[in-house]
């Protein structure tokens, strides 16, 4: 099969309130960084197709890509918007290249959660008006329901959750793009105020603003832009039921399906043996072991034991700090992909892991992980 490369990535540093900079300006910085790294241009022999990722409600305008097209090189050429978490944009860009439609794609994404008075209020609008929205459902309280179901099943303790957050902050401190790097003690997390029982304040990711960009190319063209391309070897996604009550919230059916699809494409039969590094979209601490179960790296229902056996360290999970230390909702997975690419290229600086050959990137959107996406990257 033909291969698709990620040639280079650029990340804007994440902060909780970048009020003093337009997201267009953030995207322009990302573009300039990426062009400096690769020398890519628009036009003749350059990029013609752009896959952007943004969200109407966070941008407070519909057809949100229209507000940024000039800053991403999208005028005078092809531009498609991924109205879903950005990792799916990689799947789409990959398909553009594999189909032969194009051989070079620029993929920028942005999201400023701070533009909304409350990101939970935005999420509430993702629910139907008759059965769910009027009850105040949002992604936080949907996660609260899932946290209770999963923690009970996988025997997850408060102390284990606290350790996940403490570890995430330790790694974030080594990542120059990470948002929340303040160091914590286990007790800080365990006794932080209850937010949405059993989710505590410090179990939830901070409000985050950011922008990120990637350059994708066919195998034939990849070396024009980099000496060490990273290959997309697997991609899959899956949508679970909408109503929370239709699902067994303690298991991620959708993630298992998405992972199976991605592993099959990558020819991976035993992910536990093959995967060296994982970038997870863990919006809340309980999700870290839960998503690792879904990815087949932890046995079903054994999240508690897995944490005691230092499973996250064994698989180099979220050496960037991950979603827990702050990434914007709609590009949480896209930032994860950028980090995984840096790791595979050996360019992750102070948080570089050794011998990374195969990385798995995960993202999710919707209430309690309704929609799940998995990307496999190899060098």
């Amino acid at each position: 099969m033909k291969r698709v490369a990620i040639c280079a990535v650029a990340q804007h540093r994440i902060e909780s309130d970048i009020w003093y900079k337009r997201f267009q300006g953030m995207l322009l910085d990302v573009l300039e960084d990426l062009q400096k790294q690769t020398g890519f241009t628009f036009g003749e022999n350059g990029v013609f197709d752009i896959v952007s990722c943004s969200d109407d409600f966070f941008d407070a305008r519909t057809i949100s890509n229209n507000g940024v097209c000039d800053a991403i090189g999208g005028h005078y050429r092809g531009e498609d918007k991924m109205a879903q978490e950005g990792l799916n944009g990689i799947g789409y860009a990959m398909a553009l290249i594999l189909s032969g439609h194009d051989d070079l794609v620029y993929l920028p994404g942005h999201c400023k959660e701070s533009q909304a008075e409350s990101r939970n209020m935005n999420a509430n609008l993702a629910y139907d008006p008759f059965y769910c929205r009027c009850l105040g459902l949002d992604y936080l309280n949907a996660a609260g329901l899932q946290a209770r179901a999963y923690m009970q099943k996988a025997k997850i303790t408060e102390e284990q959750l606290a350790k996940i957050v403490v570890r995430a902050r330790q790694w974030a401190a080594r990542n120059p793009y990470a948002n929340e790097t303040k160091q914590l003690e286990i007790g800080d997390v365990m006794y932080s105020p209850m937010l949405c029982d059993p989710i505590r304040t410090l179990h939830a990711y901070p409000v985050s603003d950011g922008a990120v960009g990637l350059l994708l190319a066919s195998e034939e063209r990849a070396y024009e832009f980099t000496d060490n391309p990273v290959w997309i070897t697997g991609f899959g996604n899956c949508m679970d039921s909408y109503f929370l009550g239709d699902r067994d919230l303690s298991v991620s059916f959708a993630l298992k399906k998405a992972a199976a699809q991605a592993y099959k494409m990558a020819g991976i039969t035993s992910p536990a043996k093959k995967v060296d590094l994982v970038e997870l979209m863990d919006c809340y601490a309980y999700q870290q072991p839960m998503w690792l179960e879904g990815l087949g790296l932890c046995e079903d229902g054994q999240g508690g034991r897995f944490l005691d056996e230092n499973g996250p360290a064994r698989y180099n999970v979220n050496l960037s700090g991950g979603m827990l230390t702050g990434r914007p909702l709609m590009i949480g997975g896209l930032y994860g992909a950028a980090e995984a690419v840096l790791q595979l290229k050996g360019q992750a600086g102070e948080h570089q892991a050794s011998d990374v050959n195969c990385a798995v990137v995960h993202s999710t959107t919707g209430g309690a992980g309704q929609f799940q996406t998995v990307l496999v990257l190899e060098r």
Partner: protein, 156 residues
């Protein structure tokens, strides 16, 4: 890249509000469900003729086998059990109550799928999975699932 915190003198942020009057059809299935809550104080579900699953709230198609469900109405109980819950401990404009309140998944008698609703009449610390609750119907209709105002524990 390094973030450039430019001089922010004379920079302003424009506050805004997205207000968008819309209409949205409840659907024939949704309309029947809500009218039944409003006028008869009865909770209706639908049963799939192919896989026998009883869905609450009702819907037009079975997501598993795409069978049509809208001819297969089932009257469900006004009581049920709490299968899962969270205590909402934050306040926000989109929330129907002040914190703390109990948001639960409730499986009413006769249904296979629990649905989300509010549990009142009990201290949040006292709620448990498996607790039996009953629907309290709203005095004023909103033409939504809030025509059940909330559920309260059944006291034997």
């Amino acid at each position: 890249m390094a973030i450039r915190r430019e001089d922010t003198a004379d920079c302003f942020v424009m506050p805004g509000k997205m207000v968008l009057p819309v209409q949205y059809f409840a659907g024939r299935v949704g309309s029947k469900f809500i009218i039944s809550l409003r006028d008869d104080k009865k909770i209706l579900g639908v049963k799939c003729p192919k896989c026998d699953k009883v869905y609450a709230p009702p819907r037009e198609f079975c997501e598993k086998d795409l069978a049509k469900l809208d001819e297969n109405w089932v009257e469900l109980g006004n009581e049920g059990i709490i299968t899962n819950y969270t205590i909402v401990n934050y306040n926000d404009r989109h929330l129907p109550l002040k914190a703390p309140y109990i948001l639960a998944l409730i499986k009413v008698d006769g249904a296979d799928t629990p649905f989300a609703h509010i549990v009142s009449g009990i201290d949040p610390d006292q709620v448990t999975i498996g607790m039996r609750v009953k629907a309290v119907f709203a005095e004023k209709t909103t033409n939504t699932i809030l025509d059940i105002a909330h559920f309260v524990p059944v006291i034997d």
